[in-house]
Subunit: 444 residues, 3 copies
């Protein structure tokens, strides 16, 4: 019953990785493989773990040389591998609820289902913008580099669609001296803003200018991908010296890391001024399969979680800005052992801190159940940031929000059964977790 | 049914932080805010996390300048924040079962409920000692500094009340060279005992004398608050040199820590001789919000758990004394990941080791469920130390024991349903976990 | 119902520690204590934790000086200690299902039950080989030192029994320079194979020869016991220098460890060539109670789990061989916090990696439930290696497989109830987890 009360609420998606051009151009998706398999690392990593070559899935293959029907058959033949995984739940939801397919996927039905999907993709109601509207997506945030001009967002906004499409400021390329191509990106940043990025003051001014550009296009948040969370405030002279060393290529990894750790705090201070919510996604060891990264590039399924220490790692940041309620920090972790030990007690204390939903591998029925079990007793419901789907798989958005809403309803049903609170309170919390918390945390 | 068999058993509270003068003086509590909010860091930390200033809750405000009714309204207005937290469960139990209040707390009922509580507090049956008796508290342990004269305990004992009030020896101030004011405390320790605390032999003798003083006043246990658990036995000469360096202010943090780590083992050896049970509360990073600590002092809601390694940390201690069944060590952790991995296997091996109940953030329905789920299979029930409420919130004591007993009964009902054992065994274990294990572990 | 479909399937036991001579000699077991208590560290560790001396349990006592009936009484008197533990479940199953005993064990029934067991042990159907067959054990793997001649396996094989008895190659004694007696073992290895083990090439050739010897006697797997997992590929010159330093006694622990970490990768490369599956049992601090180890030797109940970092620890190994589907690596951990964080995401990516079942302290109903809850969503069912009992307690083998099968059935029933998949898929998975996955992972 609780589920019924929230299942049809609009979708608020304040963090994700869809491509803004999809919506500004509104061209049809190429084919079922291009839509459902090639961009989805959840899907191809599992196939790869059981011996399917990435090339056979079209990864690292030029679009014109791919055989999408054959790629789709690989999924169909290995469909049993996904039993018990959220990917299977999302794909089943997509096939059934979005494409209206009633057959069960398998080797025998692969071609038939492929044809059904392909046929739909060519119709008007399966264009990206029509999908946004039929999915009931009220707001969709993309994630965009600090140097992006955001013209797709501007173009989309001019069309006056029902869905609000907003960018998110992801400055890692110009913030993290360890990032590949940082020096070049810094030069571009200077050129774009007319600031002298060889000084801390100029770098700061340039970043502030880019943030204003994002705000102008609707952004309400920044995002930071951090492998090992550490934060330390540096005196002005120290920071300037490190910046110069980094720019001259004379800094070692420790020095680069120190400057980055400082810049995270600078970002938080800018957030106090300009109001952008700050997201910290910490704890993924990126590209742990180096042969794969060398051949196919980033995001090929070998990013694996790492333990994190949020108490130590966020210490510099929180002791500088954490008492300021004008700031909202949203923390995401892939290390579940910190939920009850660190993040929930911290969110139940620091005015600036909110907990993001289970992320990535833990965005799943069990992951959500363990999260709510671990965090609510110390953080309550009002220090949570609701849900985000964090996906580049457009078709999975309604499925992911539905999975969250079901898990929330199950959690609340159990709370009622245990006598923790009654139905009226549970309904209030259900609404909050389904959409209210995301709107509040992201200032939408 | 299992719950019904244990719900009305007497309360044995072998570890907590109530104030002994409450019971020796037996004066009425000042007002509802002074009773329920100002001393309860669980309560004010949550309010603070959502933007309520500590000053508005009377923290850091002289008693005569506080407006207790206004403080209470802050709780009432933010009562929804506590949904799903154990604090709400405890406070609801207090309002309903102790004060007989039937209205639901909220902005509209704040003043009415405030008045009802205030009226009761002025009556004889709400004096501290009357509460002890109406709560069915058979024994209550306080936590007391090594230099305390324990006169409130002596005075209370002379009155011949039904409840036994005993002190606990907490020597951190004279044991830990890193503790604030350690040198002065050492001088006082010397003066009080007539021992020369500049020698290891004198220090030891002084500590033994204070332990005897506590034993004389009924103590059966010591307690140690440890942020990062480590233990190492030092040769006599090394220890003496470190002591001298610490006293002369020439020791660095590592040297101070080393001496403290050694002294924990000395304490354990004294326990073998004098029979005091030794409690280790390990793994809280104290005062992580430094601005708050500077303004308001310790215990203001910013103590956050840290990961611990009990295998390595207790190695020196256990290899020196852990095989001696004359010793009882009770281990408490805030890092749940060590339950199944370290503490339960250790408790299922070392004769001296018992596991304390879930502590602090984990003293909650989910926390207790996860604890029993994780520890029983390796440690069994007989290596557990039962429950302690560990609270300075007097009114919450019956609520906390009730929450434990409900969670124990639920656990045992599930064990019966799973065919692990039958009702007769379950009843035996229920009695054990409700009161028997605490009496046994604390030698009451 | 799912349980009924798998409860009577044959037992496939691809990893364990029974003694091959039991089956080649087929002599009766000496007495109930020798069978059920003295070799079972799960049992005597719990008794020891509650003050029973190991000597009183016959540990460290010559067989002719033991009083088995008195030893058995210790178990009976302390039988309540085991409530809630898997040991109690296994022993109850053994008493009831294997020995047909209907009384409940306790001080009053100790002698009667002892006599019943003793009487059965003297009969033909309680000889080791008869038990293998009555237990329905299709295959049983033992664990054997690299230098073993495997004559018991050869002798057993010649008899043409229904059960297949195979060895497992456990080379720690000749692979790990930190292992006690490594130099002597290396000399023996050289003598046995005629290779010059003072060169890397010779050492490698010797190990390959011993692996062939094991393969000849039926082995399909190797096994490695690792306290702290780390792997690093060394250039040929570096490895040779470290080997020489180790042989000459000039290497420190770090150097020894580095050579061992390299040799694990050499083993994996040999596995690609000869097809032996590689098992990694990582994360046990061995012999943490040094007084006990000194008096009674290894495996006396003081091995305690340690935290592990599989992402970092297996990095060298996986980046060298993990993309090769010809290799099967099976990972076992005692640190449950890595299931969802590291091992399941890794198994859902690396073609070579499979996850072993919950091990040791976690081979229990709750342990299995937590394992499936944590790993399936990221790894699926097809990256799991099924079950192994890993026991030296022969009588417990059917009980352990039964506990796994019950827990699997409960997990799958819950998945069906949650709508994750239907009965047909669940039955397929149940078969897979009960026997299919073990056969596949171990190439049986």
């Amino acid at each position: 019953m609780l589920y019924d009360a929230i299942r049809s609420l609009p979708i608020v998606s304040p963090h994700g990785h869809t491509v803004p051009q999809w919506f500004s151009d509104d061209l049809p998706f190429a084919d079922p493989a291009d839509l459902l398999i090639i961009p989805d690392h959840y899907v191809f990593r599992m196939l790869y773990s059981q011996g399917v070559a990435l090339e056979d899935l079209g990864i690292g293959v030029a679009p014109e040389k791919r055989d999408p029907r054959a790629i789709f058959r690989h999924l169909a033949q290995h469909w049993h591998l996904f039993m018990g995984t959220p990917s299977r739940g999302w794909l089943e939801h997509t096939l059934r609820a979005v494409f209206g397919i009633t057959e069960t996927l398998g080797p025998d039905t692969s071609d038939v289902i492929y044809d059904q999907i392909a046929a739909k993709l060519s119709t008007a109601q399966f264009r990206p913008v029509a999908l946004l509207e039929s999915f009931g997506i009220e707001l969709l945030a993309t994630t965009d580099g600090a140097l992006d001009d955001l013209s797709p967002h501007a173009s989309f906004a001019r069309k006056g669609r029902k869905t609000r499409l907003i960018p998110t400021f992801r400055p890692d390329s110009v913030l993290d001296p360890m990032a590949k191509g940082w020096s070049e990106a810094m030069a571009q940043l200077g050129a774009l803003t007319g600031e002298d990025c060889t000084t801390m003051a100029g770098w700061r001014a340039a970043l502030m200018a880019r943030r204003q550009h994002f705000i102008h296009h609707g952004a309400t948040a920044t995002d930071h991908a951090i492998d090992h969370l550490a934060t330390e405030w540096l005196e002005a002279g120290t920071a300037q010296k490190l910046l110069e060393a980094c720019l001259r290529g004379r800094a070692d990894d420790a020095a680069k890391r120190r400057l980055y750790n400082h810049m995270l705090i600078e970002m938080a201070q800018m957030s106090i001024d300009d109001g952008l919510v700050m997201q910290l996604h910490a704890g993924s060891a990126r590209g742990t399969n180096r042969a794969l990264t060398d051949r196919f590039g980033a995001d090929k399924g070998a990013d694996i979680p790492l333990p994190q220490n949020w108490v130590r790692g966020a210490d510099g940041l929180l002791n500088r800005v954490g008492n300021d309620a004008k700031l909202t920090l949203i923390a995401f972790t892939l290390d579940e052992s910190v939920y009850a030990r660190e993040l929930a007690p911290m969110a139940g204390h620091w005015p600036a801190l909110r907990l993001g939903p289970p992320w990535w591998f833990h965005d799943s029925p069990n992951g959500i159940r363990r999260y709510l079990d671990a965090v609510v007793e110390s953080a309550g419901y009002w220090n949570l940031a609701g849900f985000n789907d964090d996906t580049r798989a457009l078709m999975s958005i309604p499925a992911r929000h539905d999975m969250w809403r079901r898990a929330v309803a199950e959690h609340l049903d159990a709370q009622i059964a245990a006598g923790r609170f009654g139905m009226t309170d549970a309904e209030r919390i259900a609404q909050w977790l389904a959409v209210g918390a995301a709107r509040a945390a992201y200032r939408l």
